[in-house]
């Protein structure tokens, strides 16, 4: 009994200390997506170059859906990676031009290069709400059935590609094969 009385506060302290210690390193910035394992929401919009686009225009293979905007500085940081991925034919990239102006988007693509098969023009941000977007850049990994399987918030550079996307893609392929 007296032993318990001694150890109880010690245990309590250890419990609280561990909980708070973990709390220090919790990532509260990255929110889980609600759309994991759900299909891309239906859309019938125009693309940045002005043609009509809907779900049927999406690639019927594994692809990336990248949320970007001409105002978005981190988008410039991940841009070379997206360019490489699409130029080397590693994976198709579809863009969502989020809360931007069409003219600015066209200029941005002309100046920096266009890695996207096409970019869905979402000036109002309404499609972004359906996707659960909270700011560019965000990148979704979508499988061949148009189902969202993984989301990465913020910059997708080579490291993120190697460490997060490649394993996720490998998992998808394993599942499919």
């Amino acid at each position: 009994m007296s032993k318990l009385r001694f150890y109880l506060p010690v245990l309590g302290f250890v419990f609280v200390a561990v909980a708070l210690w973990r709390g220090l390193y919790l990532d509260t910035k990255t929110l889980p997506s609600m759309l994991i394992d759900k299909p891309i929401p239906n859309f019938e919009l125009t693309s940045v170059d002005g043609s009509g686009v809907s779900n049927s225009d999406l690639p019927d293979q594994i692809f990336l859906l990248n949320v970007w905007g001409s105002y978005c500085l981190p988008c410039l940081i991940e841009h070379p990676t997206l360019m490489r991925l699409s130029e080397e034919g590693e994976i198709p990239v579809v863009g969502v031009n989020y809360r931007d102006r069409q003219g600015l988007a066209i200029d941005w693509l002309a100046n920096n290069g266009n890695p996207f098969s096409f970019s869905i023009l979402d000036e109002s941000g309404r499609f972004g709400i359906d996707l659960g977007v909270y700011g560019a850049p965000e990148t979704y990994l979508v499988d061949e059935n148009g189902v969202i399987r993984f989301r990465h918030v913020s910059v997708l550079d080579e490291t993120v590609w190697q460490e997060k996307f490649l394993p996720a893609i490998a998992e998808l392929l394993e599942e499919g094969g």
Binding site: K29, L35, R99, G125, G128, L131, G132, Y134, G135
Partner: protein, 168 residues
């Protein structure tokens, strides 16, 4: 000569002091500003619902402010959506469901009761219970001591006198 020097010193001191006071006033917690949108409503009831909802929904981008207190782009869009849904006659719970389906638990300032949030909801009660147990234990022990015979027997009194140096 020395008096003007002191005067200059004092003026410099006063100037510095007022600058410091001004800077400190910047640190004071300001009022929380609500974003002013020009939404139009058919009735005051709709306007009140809008105000309540945009205070209860959290801005996904800015972590610790509500939709109503945020200038973030998403917050602006979401306020517009809340307004649209109110005008379309959707109920509060339908609007909250719409938000939850897209942004998850994070967007709700009042979290749902799930296995993961049980501790959040009932943790304080649990701690109150534990504290109560301790308080009860202490109270019981205190009563036991005061109830028991406090008189010292002969040998104890003798020992007490020795300890006090036998001054009596």
């Amino acid at each position: 000569m020395s008096s003007t020097a002191t005067e200059v010193n004092r003026n410099v001191f006063l100037a510095l002091a007022s600058i410091i006071v001004l800077l400190c006033s910047l640190l004071l917690p300001g009022t929380t500003y609500s974003q002013v949108d020009t939404f139009e409503f058919d009735s005051e009831e709709q306007q009140n619902r809008f105000r309540t909802l945009s205070n209860e929904l959290r801005c996904p981008m800015c972590q610790n402010s509500s939709l109503s207190g945020s200038t973030g782009g998403v917050a602006e869009d979401l306020r517009r959506e809340v307004h649209r849904m109110i005008m379309e006659g959707m109920s509060d719970s339908e609007i909250i469901k719409f938000m939850f389906e897209r942004y998850g638990d994070f967007i709700l300032f009042r979290p749902r009761l799930t296995a993961g949030t049980v501790l959040l909801w009932f943790g304080p009660l649990l701690f109150l219970f534990i504290g109560g147990l301790f308080a009860f234990g202490i109270w019981r022990r205190a009563r036991k001591i005061s109830d028991s015979d406090t008189e010292l027997d002969k040998s104890q009194q003798k020992r007490l006198r020795q300890l006090l140096g036998d001054k009596t």
